[in-house]
């Protein structure tokens, strides 16, 4: 388990703690968002007000993308948690707490809007042609349900939680580490883009998260420029 390497100033200058990451942690923080981004490139598009028509010929890729996404949502939460694990302060704590409702509610929303819709479309495809209009209405009504729809109750809780997690994480990284300014900016932008997960927004946000993670890891590994009066604390 990695621990932050701390520096203390003999003349009360506060020096941010530094994180060390294992190669496995770095690989995890890069691989999870990248793989998810690649998967999301296959996300079928279409009109939100004609859901059955949008999905009926793409049921297999629709289901494959959303089943994978269901796995990647908690994995991304774990990647953010690894990034912020030893960062101190209220903002970091808020971010870690917000990851829990994100993982739960965004996954649930994904199961409703993605998987359940896909299965419904598949089932409607099996109905006799004369009954398919009724089935299409069913799919549309389900997709517009206050729980399931985009900006519905469940999706909104999940999305807002992720935004809170990423913005609070960005603030924590800015305040309590010596990461470059690009890291919190990229984390904040990534938060907004990832919650709108179909391409191009989702994959772009995930790539920005990877860039932020790499910059953060590199900044923590760089040697500090010696400052008069500042010495590494005894381990």
């Amino acid at each position: 388990m990695s621990t932050p390497s701390t520096l203390t100033a003999s003349d009360d200058i506060e020096v941010p703690a530094r994180r060390t990451f294992t190669p496995g942690e770095v690989a995890f923080m890069i691989a999870v968002p990248l793989l998810w981004a690649i998967l999301l490139l296959f996300h079928p598009g279409g009109e939100a007000d004609r859901m059955y028509d949008a999905v009926r010929n793409d049921v297999t890729p629709w289901l494959a993308v959303h089943l994978g996404t269901m796995i990647f949502i908690p994995l991304l939460a774990a990647a953010v948690w690894v990034l912020l694990r030893d960062v101190e302060g209220t903002a970091a704590r808020v971010s870690r707490i917000a990851l829990v409702p994100f993982a739960l509610f965004y996954t649930i929303w994904e199961a409703l809007q993605g998987i359940a819709t896909g299965i419904l479309v598949y089932n409607v495809n099996q109905l006799p042609a004369a009954e398919r209009a009724t089935g299409a209405d069913l799919v549309q009504d389900f997709g517009m349900n206050i729980l399931a729809r985009d900006l519905g109750i469940i999706g909104s809780i999940g999305s807002v939680s992720f935004l809170v997690a990423m913005i609070a994480g960005a603030i924590a990284v800015r305040r309590h580490t010596d990461a470059p300014l690009a890291v919190p900016i990229l984390l904040g932008i990534a938060g907004f883009l990832i919650t709108a997960h179909p391409p191009p927004f989702g994959p772009t946000g995930l790539v920005l998260f990877v860039v932020a993670a790499i910059l953060f890891v590199r900044s923590q590994a760089e040697p500090r420029i010696a400052t008069p009066g500042v010495q590494p604390a005894a381990a």
């Binding site: 829990v100 993982a103 409703l112 069913l138 729980l147």
Partner: protein, 222 residues
């Protein structure tokens, strides 16, 4: 019966708020589950059409409680040493994600579809009912599906591993038994679900008392 050992310094006494959460939450969920309407697996729409609001309320609540029971079990095992505790901690998020996703489709999606079926003209109801029935039989998220099995196995693993972990640190046998019995929560409709949740709350009481009755050395360290 094997005598129980005193908790170690790492196994702290629960705070009052923590204890209220660990006992009150499963009891509250158990009460909610008593209102879970009985369903006929061969005629989901017929069984639910007159109780769809109750069905939806129970399943929206259950969704929240799935996350909370995951948090509760994590708080029980987070400071326990050993492989069993580690396995339990790993299985908890798998349970929350997969059981939550399954519950979403079987509970919320089915409820929304039954509501839709109630609103369509009578001549269209058969087609909608057929679609609702197909959803229950789906291999990915249906009643006996991959998602359901993974979620259920994760809960079984989490609770049994937690029971083993507590036995490993010398907790009373009753704590191990009750925690192990709480695996039946996986079949959540009454009476099984509420009984399993009562076992969970009972296990918390036994564990809390065991932690409270720590050695004098431990009390001084606190």
């Amino acid at each position: 019966m094997i005598a129980s050992a005193a908790p170690t310094a790492e196994q702290r006494v629960f705070s009052v708020a923590e204890l209220a959460f660990l006992i009150g939450m499963p009891i509250a969920w158990g009460v909610l589950l008593w209102f879970h309407p009985a369903t006929d697996p061969d005629d989901i729409y017929g069984g639910l059409r007159d109780e769809v609001v109750t069905y939806q309320i129970v399943h929206v609540g259950t969704l929240v409680f799935i996350g909370l029971i995951g948090v509760a079990l994590y708080r029980l095992v987070r400071d326990l040493p050993g492989r069993a505790a580690r396995i339990s901690r790993i299985a908890i998020p798998v349970f929350v994600v997969f059981y939550g996703a399954w519950e979403t489709v079987i509970g919320l999606a089915t409820g929304a579809l039954v509501q839709h079926a109630n609103d369509v003209p009578a001549e269209d109801r058969a087609a909608v009912s057929e679609t609702i029935q197909s959803l229950q039989e789906n291999l990915i998220v249906g009643e006996m599906s991959v998602t359901a099995v993974v979620g259920a196995l994760a809960w079984l693993t989490a609770t049994i591993a937690a029971a083993v972990a507590y036995r490993g640190v010398g907790a009373p046998v009753m704590a191990t038994i009750l925690l192990g019995l709480s695996l039946i929560v996986i079949s959540h409709p009454p009476p099984i679900g509420p009984v399993g949740l009562l076992c969970f709350a009972g296990a918390v009481v036994v564990i809390a008392r065991w932690r409270q009755n720590a050695s004098p050395e431990y009390q001084r360290e606190e």
